[in-house]
């Protein structure tokens, strides 16, 4: 049991680390604003698939790491991530039964919420102005989800992450 627990965590950690690297990888200026939320998507996937492994606590810690990496006020991404995972975890059984396209649409909506929360908190703490390109990642993420979901499922089944 202990061994199983360890190996599952190991594979989840690897996927999260890859997502973290992808979230801070430099992108050309033209497509920078469209960067998908890799980390949020990976965490949402694990929450849907294995809610007893990845839940609000994990989401908070991972969001906190993103805060450090991006140099934002500590806790902003952590809170937004926890909120999104709270919504996901409350509905994980419904989400599992949706088709990938329906899931993608919902994930897009969740990520709109995620970005709005980050914007609101930033607005409250640092003076910033709203611009529509803050929400672009939600659209790209929804599109990427259609590809990411089968990939993550394959990964989970291949390595028997439970």
């Amino acid at each position: 049991m202990i061994k199983l627990f360890r190996s599952s965590w190991w594979f989840i950690t690897i996927s999260v680390l890859i997502a973290l690297v992808l979230s801070i990888m430099p992108l050309p200026l033209e497509i920078k604003a469209w960067r998908p939320d890799w980390l949020a998507m990976v965490i949402i996937y694990w929450t849907i698939a294995l809610p007893h492994r990845v839940n609000i606590g994990t989401a908070w810690v991972v969001g906190f790491m993103l805060d450090i990496l991006l140099g934002t006020v500590l806790g902003i991404h952590a809170f937004a991530m926890a909120l999104v995972v709270f919504v996901t975890a409350s509905n994980f059984q419904k989400l599992r039964n949706f088709s990938v396209w329906q899931q993608a649409a919902l994930i897009g909506v969740f990520l709109l919420l995620y970005h709005m929360v980050i914007f609101w908190l930033n607005r409250f703490l640092v003076q910033i102005n709203f611009s529509l390109d803050l929400l672009y990642p939600a659209f790209t993420s929804a599109l990427i989800w259609i590809w990411l979901f089968p990939v993550m499922r394959g990964y989970r089944r291949r390595f028997k992450v439970r």
């Binding site: 690297v21 430099p26 007893h52 709270f86």
Partner: protein, 279 residues
């Protein structure tokens, strides 16, 4: 199927915990100074991820260097040689002027200007959040980098260090909207405060009364009054003056001298002897 929420607290309770902890970390980070030390540890902790993320770009750069043709290298070498010659000639004059300046200052019984120590750091290829203008560089507290340290490039002021890790540190660029620095106009010593706007090419002079002698093309240099930046380094050039008398103050827009949007190498600055003290 696993008994998913059989063990542990319920979902709303977990979320409530996450909310409370977030409020605590956000308030600690924004309203107290205690997070500086914590951030140093945390930055050190995530540094491997940053190095990993910058790997592809580094590899690409290395490949580009390797693939450069012999002729282009020779041309570059030639151009650099010429540049060095010109700069050495300027430096000779500088040495002479510095000696003269020190003598004159001695006559006025003021202290000679302190020399500063510099070290080159490389900007790491990692993205930052879109709300602030900051970059991560590959020098940290193990290289005696410290918070509030002035940062320059070969043309002018770039910004200052805001958080330090063991091997990395984050630099807030002077065009960030939370950054302001005291300047003076090189031509006539008019003093002012220059604030970033969040736009890479625009900075604004704050609270300048109407009729102040500032013209388009004026060079703004650090005044040394804020005790972060040493005196006399170029900061920005005035590109726009709007003397609109219906507004309480004059609107003066300046463009940073440093190439803030394409920096690759920067200089970290220490006062004379400061670095040795920190070792």
């Amino acid at each position: 199927m696993n008994p998913i929420f059989g063990a542990g607290p319920s979902l709303p309770l977990r979320f409530f915990f996450a909310f409370v902890i977030s409020v605590i970390t956000i308030t600690t980070d924004v309203y107290t100074d205690s997070s500086k030390q914590i951030r140093t540890y945390l930055n050190t902790l995530v540094a491997p991820i940053q190095y990993l993320a910058s790997l592809p770009q580094d590899a690409f750069d290395a490949m580009a260097k390797y693939a450069a043709s012999k002729q282009s290298l020779l041309d570059e070498n030639e151009a650099l040689r010429k540049l060095q010659l010109l700069q050495n000639q300027k430096l000779q004059k500088y040495d002479m002027l510095k000696a003269e300046n020190d003598k004159l200052r001695a006559l006025l019984t003021t202290n000679p200007r302190a020399e500063s120590t510099k070290e080159v750091a490389e900007v790491m290829a990692v993205a930052s959040n879109p709300f602030t203008q900051s970059v991560v560089v590959d020098k940290g507290s193990s290289n005696q980098a410290f918070e509030g340290q002035p940062v320059l490039d070969d043309l002018g002021v770039v910004g200052q260090v805001v958080s330090v890790g063991n091997t990395t540190s984050r630099i807030l660029l002077l065009t960030d909207q939370t950054h302001a620095l005291p300047i003076r106009v090189l031509r006539n010593d008019v003093r002012g405060i220059l604030q970033g706007t969040g736009n890479i090419n625009r900075m604004e002079l704050l609270n300048l009364p109407h009729g102040t002698d500032v013209k388009v093309g004026d060079r703004l240099v650090t005044s040394g009054l804020g005790e972060v930046f040493p005196e006399g380094y170029p900061v920005a050039d005035v590109i726009e003056v709007q003397p609109d008398v219906t507004k309480p103050f004059m609107r003066v827009i300046a463009k940073p001298v440093a190439q803030v949007d394409r920096i690759k190498h920067i200089l970290l600055l220490w006062d004379e002897g400061q670095r040795e003290e920190m070792k």
